[in-house]
């Protein structure tokens, strides 16, 4: 595993970072987060999103459950250094009018991920994924690893995916 792209990267608004094995939070975003005590604590860093869970742990039968209900809509996700896909709610439990950004799915002073973005669910089934994370701005090439992990999961249990999802179509079931 590489050491990841330096957090000094700023890029342009909306642009992704150059490809790397792992990514740190983009410098400007971390600077902004450090000003918000509901997101970043000077001693411990990013708070840990209490709803953060691996897809594996959130699986109940043929559904992904969040807060005891079938996951629905877009949710933040990261792929951690070990290859786990971690999802969680976007609303900040410390401040309901604010959000829990991607780094809070890992927590700590310098969270590092292989990819991040939004994972979309429909009635407890996985339907889509992207790399839309303003904090990590992962390169589109890193989506290959996420897609491979989801395809592997789909091969094991296609019923966790919507019938129109790309992984299920690839799987042919």
């Amino acid at each position: 595993m590489g050491s990841g792209i330096s957090s000094s990267y700023s890029g342009t608004e909306g642009s992704s970072q150059p490809y790397a094995e792992t990514y740190h939070v983009v410098g400007k975003m971390m600077d902004d987060d450090k000003k918000d005590p509901n997101v970043y604590d000077k001693t411990t860093g990013y708070f840990k999103n209490p709803t953060a869970t691996t897809l594996e742990d959130a699986t109940v039968g043929n559904r992904i459950k969040i807060a005891g209900k079938d996951a629905n809509g877009p949710m933040t996700y990261v792929m951690d250094k070990d290859g786990n896909i971690i999802v969680g709610k976007r609303v900040n439990p410390n401040d309901g009018s604010n959000h829990a950004p991607h780094p809070t799915l890992i927590g700590g002073k310098d969270p590092e991920v292989q990819c991040a973005g939004m994972l979309t669910f429909e009635g407890g089934k996985i339907s889509k994924v992207d790399n839309q994370s303003g904090h990590f701005r992962p390169n589109a090439q890193s989506m290959d690893k996420v897609n491979a992990a989801l395809q592997d999961l789909c091969n094991k249990n296609p019923n966790l995916f919507t019938k129109n999802s790309v992984w299920r179509k690839n799987n042919g079931k």
Partner: protein, 151 residues
Amino acid sequence: MENKIIMETEYLYNRSYDDELTDEEDEALYDRAQQQILDYGWDKTFESWKEYLFTKCISPESVVNFANLFWCYCAGEYVIADPYSFLGYMYYRIDMNPSKYDDLDILDGLAITILPKAGFSNADLMKNPYYSPLEDERLIAEVEKFKNSEV
């Protein structure tokens, strides 16, 4: 609005998102929603769904239930011409309090999906990762409009 489309909309929305359905039952509902869109077109279908929301969904729970079903029917895939009115009604009915009523953050999910699709880039998370519907002035203005129209 003709009776048939109203009945079809009621069939799709007069149920609970929390119902324990089999995959086959879920897929049948999804297919039925897609057939309605195919039969009537997206604009007319959305008009019917919005009418259902505005007239039948008064409590916070019923609004969140509608939003979850709306998402399941892939409605986030389509462009909504006036998304702020649609979202404003829902946030008005939950009294701008998603923490209390919206376990799955579905209203937030709808906002960050349908607003950029309709051209409101302020809700595009790549451009504005800190976007919050609760701090969106256009949305707040819509909620105020609904509040002021209360009898």
